[in-house]
């Protein structure tokens, strides 16, 4: 079985401050981890993924995520938040022998001016 937990329903940050959106996972075998963003009335947009290698993954729009195997976490980060980053963020995982993605429940990020 595989699953993702996003413990925060909402994260509030001020523009210009760093942001972190938390994600922990459970999976058999090696994890493939993904972050997606969803803007209102839009589909999900791919941000970044971890497959193997460097634990710090850089993605679109200045986002990055850090894979931590011992803590089974894959937190999304950005050094300086923008108001336009306000959206719904989903973490997803699949095992290296599975094709099914399991998604977290989503975290709403609100960046205030």
């Amino acid at each position: 079985a595989q699953s993702v937990a996003q413990p925060e329903d909402q994260v509030n940050v001020a523009e210009g401050n760093p942001l972190t959106v938390k994600c922990t996972y459970s999976v058999s075998g090696n994890p493939y981890l993904f972050w997606y963003v969803q803007y209102p009335n839009r589909g999900l947009q791919f941000l970044l993924k971890y497959i193997t290698g460097d634990n710090l993954v850089k993605g679109s729009y200045g986002f990055e995520a850090e894979f931590n195997k011992s803590q089974t976490s894959f937190h999304l980060k950005k050094p300086s938040a923008l108001v336009s980053d306000s959206a719904l963020y989903f973490c997803a995982v699949r095992g290296d022998s599975s094709y099914k993605l399991s998604f977290g429940s989503g975290t709403r990020l609100l960046v205030r001016p």
Binding site: G43, L44, K49, D96, S97, Y99
Partner: protein, 116 residues
């Protein structure tokens, strides 16, 4: 190139009617997925197509739901005798390959289904 497209973008129907939702994946993508996103919920896997292999239908919530993929490209999700609990956004995604590959999925904009 063009992304994943879905039609219609919105569908309002009456309880008991049948609906068809369409998905056009990215050209060349052999894997296609359907998900359901209900209000306040995460994404629920429905069905997976990979090339000419038999689809994985394990996520379909009832036998009122069915899907097909013609010619390895366009897919149609059909819901028969719709119920109010079927109201949700139905998302389609495609990827270069399924199986154990690590290709990311690309999502369409979704079809918002409202059953009155």
């Amino acid at each position: 190139g063009a992304g994943v497209s879905q039609s219609p973008s919105n569908k309002v129907t009456e309880k008991g009617k049948d609906v068809e939702l369409r998905c056009d994946p990215i050209s060349g993508h052999t894997a296609l997925y359907w998900y359901r996103q209900s209000l306040g919920q995460g994404l629920e896997f429905l069905i997976y197509f990979q090339g000419n292999s038999a689809p994985d239908k394990s996520g379909l919530p009832s036998d009122r739901f069915s899907a097909e993929r013609t010619g390895g490209s366009v897919s149609t999700l059909t819901i028969q005798r719709t119920q109010q609990e079927d109201s949700a956004v139905y998302l389609c995604a495609s990827s270069l390959a399924g199986g154990s590959s690590y290709n990311e999925q690309f999502f369409g904009p979704g079809t918002r289904l409202t059953v009155l």
